[in-house]
Symmetry: C2
């Protein structure tokens, strides 16, 4: 349904119709020119040939310094999505399961299904401000649970997991023999301090990338911090699948790391403004919501709403949103990505409000 | 063993030792500046955001025109290797098998093994000039054979499959319910005219890419021509794995297509010279070989040789080659990729000859 809306919005745009696209988690910001220039220089210097399936040594070293781990713990991946797919592909055996607090990013579910793994969701709700009930999560974990996937800040709620809960989840999962895969793709641009899995343990999995925090969504570069043995397996899988992330892209990312504080601050401030604007508008309506802790999303609720039908109809008003059902059992919710200019946010939210049943 | 040699060669280089690298199928040519400029322009124009999992419409259209198929039959992939992995991932069910004429590119075997599929090799030999015995191939195909993988021109022999055999194989495979996956990555730069699967049928699979024929190995862009239903499945798999090939890379490739005849001719002529040079040298030795029909490889044989031990020892003489065992049951063979300058070819082949037992 998420991809259906997305494809339909593109079709309508191709027909000349204007669509305010709240449906994609793709910040409408250009990649910093310094990053583009660094990639271009690398191309001209001949960084256009096969490179390491582990990633460029310099980029791995720099990421190792940032996370205080060895270069051997870092693997560069073709986007964080490829990291997640390959980890699930490598780690999940038949009959094993994955536990995920919901609402959740669509891809976790699609990948698990594609690999024939069982996926167990812990339902969270707006009324408890999307908090994880750790004892309920514990009940979902059994001897066949291989992975617990955390995503803080979360897509679609933009809420972070508090330190106490995070620590308890890691401890419980590890005690029961499960590994925590922590998808921290929104961490560096969070409005509030978000904890990293590495604050608790180095024996689990950190997944991160350059898409959201460097406005590099289309460059397809992510990375993991994992134990060496698992790193070796990922590198071997890269060798027979994607081979490597183009080296010149990695040199672009390396330049990004130099500028990371400036770029992250820019994105953070831009989206803080947008979040404040959107919250001010929404607070005057019957939509219920929780203030986001991070870019880019709001996940409001309207009692009794069928968000799938609503999202489809809303396209006729020139607004694209993602129905809540794309993120779990959340039919009364929908996701608004604030990835459009401020004036479009005002106009788009107005149209949503008018169209509400 | 292939990767072991490769890693060891890189280590030795990092220690300051000079290595003549005959081990990698990576032409030592820069990507054409026009391609680099086109990619740079696309970056600056903001082609840095998520794009279609099918590939950029313009690039698919252009490839559709070249192959005389609809845009819906073309899917852009993160390298031809990703195309092959994803096709095998999508098509092979448990208990099914793949038939591959050997010697063969290492990855077919590694992917099949990783996916738990059975792989059956048809042994070819130098004495019959690497020809495929079609009746023997037929005997390998049974009701569980899902794919027959052809690779013409072939890595590591650089020989093309003759038209008659190619046609017979397609007919037999299809009659027995198997699909032919034709990996034509060296086709456009072949010294002799190489047939394409599309000359025989549009109901099989063409895999191609930009690595070898545009000197774009490190850009990681390939494509397939497949039936629409399979194209849809590949696009869905891209959505949950690699997302897309960076759009700016696709605009580089699109520029490449404009220049394809010039670039292919340049590569072809350069490697024809190298092949002639190498054949002249080898013909004065006890090494047996067949003249290549295409870039980049020679696959000579030395009676009684243990090519794995030979390849490892040869590193000490400053030459890296790929042992024949990386391509099947060919211990007496080794692969020489002519991806080094002409003077290094002379020097390197001299060192190989001196080191022979």
């Amino acid at each position: 349904m998420l991809y259906e809306i997305s494809e339909k919005a593109i079709q309508m745009e191709n027909q000349g119709k204007r669509i305010i696209k709240f449906n994609l988690g793709d910040p409408n910001l250009p990649t910093a020119p310094e990053i583009i220039e660094a990639a271009y220089e690398a191309m001209k210097q001949g960084k256009t040939r096969y490179s390491s399936a582990a990633g460029e040594e310099k980029l791995r070293e720099e990421l190792g310094k940032i996370h205080n781990v060895s270069v051997d713990n870092v693997v560069i991946t073709n986007g964080s999505k490829w990291a997640i797919f390959s980890l699930m592909f490598l780690l999940l055996k038949k009959g094993e399961n994955v536990v995920v607090p919901s609402p959740h990013w669509t891809s976790y579910e699609l990948v698990a299904r594609r690999l024939g793994a069982e996926i167990r969701f812990l339902k969270r709700d707006l009324d408890s401000d999307w908090r994880i009930d750790v004892s309920k999560l514990e009940n979902l974990i059994d001897k066949d649970t291989r992975l617990v996937i955390l995503n803080s800040p979360n897509n679609p709620t933009s809420k972070v997991i508090d330190e106490k809960s995070f620590g308890e989840i890691v401890q419980i999962a590890n005690e029961r023999g499960a590994i925590v895969l922590s998808d921290e793709i929104y961490c560096d641009i969070s409005f509030v301090k978000a904890k990293s899995i590495l604050d608790f343990s180095t024996e689990n999995i950190l997944v991160n990338g350059f898409s959201k925090n460097f406005a590099m969504t289309g460059w397809r570069i992510g990375y993991v911090v994992v134990e060496e043995e698992l790193a070796e397996k990922m590198i071997k899988l890269n060798q027979i699948t994607t081979t490597c992330v183009p080296a010149f892209i990695q040199y672009g990312a390396l330049k990004g790391l130099e500028l990371r504080e400036r770029i992250a601050a820019e994105i953070r401030e831009r989206f803080r403004l947008r979040a404040n604007l959107a919250c001010n508008i929404l607070s005057k309506t019957k939509m219920k919501f929780s203030r986001p802790d991070a870019p880019f999303y709001l996940f409001p609720k309207v009692d009794g709403l069928d968000s799938e039908r609503f999202a489809l109809n809303l396209l006729d008003s020139g607004v694209a949103i993602a129905p809540g059902t794309a993120f779990g059992d959340y039919r009364e919710h929908f996701r608004i990505a604030l990835s459009v200019p401020e004036k479009d946010i005002e106009e788009g939210l107005g149209k949503i409000y008018e169209a509400l049943p």
